[in-house]
Structure formats: structure tokens, C-alpha cells
């Protein structure tokens, strides 16, 4: 709360982004407290990991640190406050009709949720109810979300990506990291940490049916490992491992794997995304289907995140006149 409040008054954009990271981490712990470990994991990886990095990348590109103070008329100051107060008051009035926090009689708990909790173990055969709802009961929704992510990734590529991708261009260090090159501690620590992060991503991916985790989280964690590597060792080193071409291919492959699983079940005589037909036993089919589509999700999410980061970073790298901007975070 306090961090959210502070973000209104801060004009230093760098501090603002850092505060936003802290805010997201606090939100993640809040989610854990509300019995949502899957969501907490996602929020921690995304809110405290990827979005601040992307925002910092933007700051490095647009090279202004603070928003100038603007003189405003009384009307311009009062109008937003008035609008916010009225909307807030209306919403608080509406909240009196809502069920109390954690009330077992609340409508949200009494329609479709009990079915998910009671039947998913027999129908899907995996303990993590979040994964079975995500991948099987509501597979259409998730497919749609994957397409949204894919589209956003293409959008970023179209806006930032293609200009500098000519071969033979020498990539210099990512603007923000030009000074990280001689930090021995960072090099050593990251060498130990990055394999562990990758390993953890795989664990989250393949153990996601039994414990908190799944394709979305694993994809994000996987991308974070590469981003960390890029920040410390520079873009050139990353391009040796994964080229932009490869990332684009995996991005498409992820979506196709998900959609293709649906088509396969269609050909085997079931409905679209009805995994029961994929194997002789419906439960085995469910397992197979969930593993396949979670893999598709992870591939798509990881490559979209990575390509987005590389777009921002690559754009900073080809304009060396902006290098001096990102050096000292004060």
C-alpha cells in the first residue's frame, strides 16, 4: 500500500520502477497468504523480475530519468481527484453487498469450484487442482491467453525488433550493463546461480502437476535465467547460445504445440482439446495432454519474454551514443 501511494508522488522514474518491484514482491507474499502459491510464484517472477527489467530497459532507451514538474491549474488538479473520489465512494457503497472475506457460503465457492475440487482427482488424476483447471477444464481460456501473449510478443518484435537485426552488426553491451563487465562477484555468483535457476525452471515445469507451478511460471523463470545472463555477460554471449531466429521459432512452436494438441484430439474422435482421447485410458490421455500443452505454454512464454527483452536490449545496444545514460543508478 505504502509503495503504491509513494508511486504517485515520486517523479524520479528509476526509483519508481524499483518501488514497483518491491510492490509486486509484497503482492506475491500477499497471494501466498491467501492460499494461492501458484499465483504468488507467477507474480514474484513477473512483477519483481521481468516487468522492472523491461521498464528499466525502456528508461535506458528513452534516457530521461525524471518527469518534469508541471504547473497545473486548479481545475486540472481537482478533476482527477474528484473523479477518483466519486468512483471510489460508489465502489465502497457496492462492497456492502459483497460476501465477507473467506466466507464459505460465498457464491464463488458454491457453483463450479466444488466440482473442480471433488472430481478433478478422478477425472484428471493430478493433485494440483489449479493445473487441472488451467490445462484441462478451461483449456480454451488458456489457449486464448497464450495467443494474446504470442500476439503481444509479435507486436513488440514489430515495433522494436527488426531494425537492427542485420548480420555483421557488432552488438555492444546492453546499455545498463556496460559497467557490469568487471564485477567479479557478479560473474561468480551468476555462474553458480544461473544453472540452479534453469534447473528450478525445469522442476517447476515437470513437477507442476503435483506442486505449485506449471508452464507459465516455468517459462518466466527460464527466461529470467537468460536475461540475467545477458545482463551480466552481454548480449553477444547470449546470441551465441540462442539466436533471435531460434527464439522466434520456439515462440511459434509453443503456440502450435498447444493448438496442435487440440487438433490431435479432434482427429482421434474427441472434442477440441479433449485429451481423454489421446491414450487408451482417459486419465492417461489427460496426463499426456496436460504435459504437452504445458510444454507449449512454457515454450511460448519463455521465448516471448526473452525476445521482448532482447528487443529492448538490442535497441539500446545499437545506439552507443546512449551508453552513458544507464550507468549509475542512484
Amino acid at each position: 500500500m505504502a509503495t503504491a501511494t509513494a508511486s504517485i508522488f515520486l517523479r524520479d522514474l528509476f526509483a519508481l520502477v524499483m518501488l514497483f518491484g518491491i510492490f509486486s514482491l509484497l503482492t506475491a507474499s500477499f497471494f501466498l497468504n491467501l492460499d494461492a502459491p501458484d499465483v504468488a510464484m507467477t507474480e514474484a517472477a513477473i512483477g519483481a523480475g521481468i516487468s522492472p527489467i523491461l521498464m528499466l530497459g525502456t528508461l535506458a532507451l528513452i534516457r530521461n530519468r525524471s518527469a518534469p514538474r508541471v504547473k497545473k491549474t486548479i481545475r486540472a488538479t481537482m478533476a482527477p481527484i474528484l473523479a477518483v473520489t466519486i468512483t471510489g465512494a460508489a465502489l465502497i457503497y457496492a462492497s456492502f453487498d459483497m460476501p465477507y472475506l473467506a466466507d464459505p457460503q460465498a457464491p464463488a465457492h458454491n457453483h463450479v469450484a466444488p466440482r473442480y475440487i471433488q472430481q478433478s482427482l478422478q477425472e484428471i488424476g493430478i493433485p494440483n487442482a489449479v493445473t487441472s483447471v488451467l490445462a484441462s477444464y478451461r483449456g480454451y481460456d488458456t489457449l486464448g491467453e497464450v495467443f494474446v501473449i504470442f500476439t503481444a510478443g509479435i507486436g513488440v518484435l514489430a515495433l522494436l525488433g527488426f531494425m537492427h537485426n542485420t548480420s555483421g552488426r557488432r552488438y555492444s553491451q546492453f546499455a545498463d550493463t556496460a559497467s557490469l563487465d568487471h564485477h567479479t562477484i557478479l560473474h561468480v555468483i551468476s555462474k553458480i546461480a544461473i544453472p540452479l535457476i534453469l534447473l528450478f525452471a525445469f522442476y517447476v515445469q515437470f513437477h507442476g502437476e503435483y506442486s505449485p507451478g506449471g508452464g507459465f511460471q516455468a517459462g518466466v523463470i527460464f527466461a529470467v535465467a537468460f536475461i540475467l545472463y545477458a545482463m551480466i555477460y552481454g548480449l553477444e554471449t547470449v546470441y551465441k547460445v540462442v539466436s533471435m531466429r531460434l527464439i522466434r521459432m520456439t515462440m511459434v512452436a509453443g503456440v502450435l504445440l498447444y493448438a496442435g494438441t487440440g487438433v490431435a484430439s479432434l482427429f482421434l474422435g474427441g472434442n477440441y482439446l479433449d485429451y481423454g482421447t489421446l491414450a487408451h485410458e482417459p486419465v492417461h490421455g489427460q496426463h499426456l495432454g496436460i504435459i504437452l500443452i504445458e510444454l507449449g505454454v512454457a515454450l511460448c512464454v519463455a521465448s516471448v519474454m526473452l525476445s521482448t527483452f532482447l528487443c529492448f536490449a538490442g535497441r539500446a545496444a545499437v545506439r552507443p551514443d546512449e551508453m552513458e545514460e544507464g550507468d549509475k543508478p542512484t
Binding site: I46, L101, A102, H109, V130, L134, Y210
Partner: protein, 117 residues
């Protein structure tokens, strides 16, 4: 027992903070952060609805009867990832705006547009 509603009030407060930043801020990055705060408040609204007294995380184990509602968790899980993807798109647009207008202050962009006509 009126305090049983406090989660909604926190959500509303945060939502209004984000809303305020979105309509008040002149700087486009601040606007994006405001949008993100707004978005987070919606996440909290959903997740707090899924909470249930005496419940635990929805990973089915023996000997546990009450679980939190998995459905809002699924919706929010995917929404978070979609949120960051759209945020990235917004930031990319900001970078291009900066390149075209050489500013990310809304009033200056508006001014430039006006003078062009």
C-alpha cells in the same frame, strides 16, 4: 463484523490510486505503472474471493477437506503473464513515441500534434 469486507476496501483504495495515476500523470511511464497498480488490485480482488476459512492451497492431498477456490487462481495466473506481455507492448510503444516526438510527456506530444496541423 463489518471488517469482513476490508479486503474489498483495500482493493478499492489501490484501484483508485492506480486510476488516479493513470488520469493524473503526464508521463507515459508513470501511466503504465498506474495501470499496473490498477491491474494488481484486480488480481487481489479475485484471489481474496477465492480464499476460504480454514482452507489450504488447492493441491489435493489426503486428510484435507477444505481448499481455496482454484478457479480465480487460474484466471489470475494467466492474467499476470498476459499483463506483463501487454505492458511490454505498451513500453515498446513508448520507446517509439520517444523516437518520433523526442518526449514522453503527454502535453508536449499534444502540443506537437497541434502545431503540426
Amino acid at each position: 463484523m463489518i471488517f469482513g469486507l476490508f479486503n474489498y476496501w483495500i482493493v478499492i483504495l489501490m484501484m483508485m490510486l492506480g486510476f488516479y495515476v493513470v488520469i493524473e500523470a503526464n508521463n507515459l511511464i508513470k501511466k503504465i505503472i498506474g495501470l499496473n497498480i490498477f491491474q494488481t488490485s484486480v488480481f487481489i480482488l479475485y484471489i481474496s474471493m477465492g480464499k476460504i476459512t480454514g482452507g489450504t492451497a488447492p493441491i489435493l492431498t489426503e486428510g484435507v477437506e477444505i481448499y481455496a477456490n482454484p478457479l480465480p487462481q487460474v484466471l489470475i495466473l494467466t492474467a499476470i503473464v498476459v499483463g506483463v506481455a501487454t505492458t511490454a507492448l505498451g513500453l515498446a510503444l513508448i520507446v517509439r513515441i520517444k523516437e518520433a516526438y523526442d518526449t514522453i510527456e503527454e502535453d508536449e506530444i499534444y502540443l506537437q500534434d497541434r502545431t503540426l496541423k
